[in-house]
């Protein structure tokens, strides 16, 4: 789209957009093309010789049980993180919306974890869940009798990174849900109340459907967050272990490419991630467009 009233001048618009184009070309398009090319090559660790192998890297990946395991872990981890953070955020926002007083104070108390780096969130939760020193771990072991050890047990470690990742994301979801709640016209709620619908019924039949665009958008954003931004959590507190149980797809790209120096395989994994995220984006844009038509 362009403004009806706009300027006509020769060189200036090109100059204005030049920085953006330059940065995008050097750090986006060129690397992306290189990545796609590299994913079809077999190179030695020193990058001296390359051999063209077409789709062998991809075939190898999908035959590799370790890669398939990391795909499974990523899916489980992301869904668990997103659902935990969404439910918690939705619940607190619904309560905050009902609160008559102190809305601003509640928001202030809940918003700041957004600013905490995922890696730091990881450190805090490692301390809480540490098998020797953690207070939550102590509670789990002593009171509930659970054999809890995220340093040695893979599943416990996975639970730990889900907690550390979801905690930070709650405030993000809270902000959006609260804005969503406040955008719902009060007259609708009042009308439903006059027709005799109780608070729960109003929530399920009026508020939740009206909130569904926010919910869908947040689902996408939370999944993307869990896919990519949680690298810091994993690298800081579990390094993909124990036994590879916290090796997500992004962590594996890093490990294979920069630690294992298997460049072809790492590039192929990057290409798969790119394809994945492009699919998600297209789906989201389709949905958003439908939403706009519905509103109009």
């Amino acid at each position: 789209m362009i403004k009806r009233a706009h300027f006509k001048s020769g060189l200036l618009p090109y100059l204005l957009i030049l920085p953006q184009i330059l940065v995008t070309l050097t750090f986006f398009y060129w690397p992306a093309i290189q990545g796609v090319l590299q994913s079809m090559m077999l190179s030695d660790p020193f990058g001296q010789r390359n051999q063209w192998v077409w789709f062998d890297n991809f075939k190898e990946l999908f035959a590799d049980p370790l890669y398939l395991k990391s795909v499974g872990i990523t899916l489980g981890f992301s869904v668990a993180t997103a659902v935990t953070a969404l439910l918690f955020g939705l619940f607190i926002a619904s309560q905050a919306n009902r609160a008559l007083k102190a809305k601003a104070a509640i928001r202030t108390l809940l918003i700041w974890p957004y600013a905490v780096a995922p890696a730091i969130s990881g450190i805090l939760w490692l301390f809480l869940l540490h098998p020797n020193y953690g207070v939550v771990a102590f509670f789990l072991k002593r009171t509930l009798g659970i054999d809890w050890n995220p340093i040695l047990d893979g599943f416990d470690a996975l639970v730990m990174i889900v907690m550390a990742s979801a905690w930070k994301q709650i405030s993000y979801n809270f902000v959006f849900f609260l804005a969503g709640f406040q955008a719902i016209p009060h007259s609708l709620i009042e009308a439903a109340a006059m027709d005799g619908a109780g608070p729960m019924r109003r929530f399920w039949t009026i508020i939740l459907p009206l909130l569904s665009p926010t919910l869908f958008f947040l689902m996408v954003m939370n999944l993307i967050y869990a896919f990519f931004d949680t690298f810091g959590v994993i690298h800081t507190i579990t390094q993909g272990g124990p036994g590879g149980m916290t090796t997500t797809m992004v962590y594996k790209v890093y490990k294979d490419g920069f630690v294992g120096l298997n460049l072809g395989s790492s590039a192929a994994q990057s290409v798969i991630l790119m394809a994945l995220i492009i699919t998600i984006t297209i789906l989201q844009f389709k949905y958003v467009e439908r939403k706009v038509q519905y509103a109009g």
């Binding site: 362009i2 403004k3 009233a5 706009h6 006509k8 200036l12 618009p13 090109y14 204005l16 957009i17 920085p19 953006q20 184009i21 995008t24 050097t26 750090f27 986006f28 398009y29 690397p31 992306a32 290189q34 990545g35 607190i92 309560q95 905050a96 009902r98 509640i106 928001r107 202030t108 108390l109 809940l110 918003i111 700041w112 600013a115 780096a117 890696a119 730091i120 969130s121 450190i123 805090l124 301390f127 102590f138 340093i151 709650i170 109340a193 993307i224 931004d229 690298f231 810091g232 690298h235 992004v250 490419g257 920069f258 460049l263 590039a267 990057s270 991630l273 995220i277 998600i280 984006t281």
Partner: protein, 306 residues
């Protein structure tokens, strides 16, 4: 009229208090641990009373983690990303929305293709690019056999090797993360809501495009810019994967990454009080920015993602 339900209202406040406690507990516990001496923090469960060792622990973390240097690096990186992104995208969006030129559609499409792809999905090639920023030019030189032409011309045997590395440098930390279209998209959306009459009036008064940008668009974008400052500063400060790759020297990394060296291993002396004091210092700047600029931040966040 919605019914009055005193019991439900009471429940609401109880749930809210619980929620705030659950969300706040990790930080509350960290605060206490950071004030305790080693022998108390290693006790299980740790006593929930404030100690008097906060300053000692902070000093230990500062020294052990080299936090002075690393915090400075984080600050340069976060500020650089914030300013870079806002400048680049403001001008870019202005060009796309307010000018009519032949390659406009191409420029628009090529920038917005990058909207959702984070740096995490293209780490290896981006790293190679940063390791030698002149790579594409070298490729052109090789492709066009310029070496041969030069050698034939000079009757000499010269090798052309172009190299400029961004590893361990501030531009290397900043530039690749500036390459994102999210801010440009936001500015574009905002410019489209600016009334047409403003531009018409400015043109009638004979204002040049740059004057219009400076005197009219810039003042109108103030709240947007404030929101973006918060969002991008937090984003830049909290980056992990990219600084981890692009820096090899310990004194060039960022504070968030440096914290890892403070975490005690299972067999180490459990100096959690020092590690958590360090974590507190490093998380403080972005948390303060969010809290103090909360109003703009919330507005910007919700509008940005629409």
């Amino acid at each position: 009229m919605v019914e009055k339900t005193p019991i439900l209202d009471l429940l609401t406040y109880i749930f809210l208090a619980l929620g705030v406690c659950v969300v706040g507990f990790p930080i509350f516990y960290t605060l206490i641990a950071a004030t305790l001496p080693l022998e108390m923090v290693a006790r299980v469960p740790m006593p929930l009373v404030l100690g008097d060792q906060l300053w000692v622990n902070i000093q230990a973390a500062w020294y052990k983690g080299n936090l002075g240097t690393l915090l400075f690096n984080s600050f340069v990186m976060a500020t650089g990303i914030t300013i870079g992104k806002i400048l680049v995208s403001m001008l870019g969006a202005f060009s796309i929305v307010y000018f009519d030129y032949r390659l406009r559609a191409v420029a628009f499409a090529s920038v917005f293709c990058t909207l959702m792809l984070p740096v995490e999905v293209r780490i290896l090639p981006t790293y190679e690019m940063a390791a030698n920023i002149l790579g594409p030019i070298q490729y052109l030189v090789d492709l066009l056999r310029i070496e041969g032409v030069v050698n034939w011309f000079l009757q000499n045997d010269i090798q052309i090797r172009l190299e400029l590395s961004l590893l361990d440098s501030y531009p290397g930390l900043i530039l690749p993360l500036v390459a994102s279209a999210t801010c440009t998209f936001l500015f574009r959306q905002f410019y489209l809501t600016v009334p047409e009459e403003l531009c018409e009036a400015a043109k009638m008064d004979g204002a040049t495009p740059m004057l219009f940008l400076r005197k009219i668009l810039l003042p109108l974008s103030k709240t947007n810019i404030a929101a973006l400052v918060v969002i991008e500063f937090v984003y830049g400060w909290n980056q992990y994967l990219w600084p981890l790759l692009i820096t090899t020297r310990r004194e060039m990394t960022t504070a968030v990454i440096g914290l890892q060296h403070l975490i005690p291993d299972v067999d180490d002396v459990p100096e959690w009080n020092v590690a958590l004091a360090g974590a507190l210092i490093v998380m403080l700047p972005p948390v303060l920015v969010v809290l103090f600029m909360q109003r703009w931040f919330v507005k910007g966040l919700v509008e940005r993602e629409k």
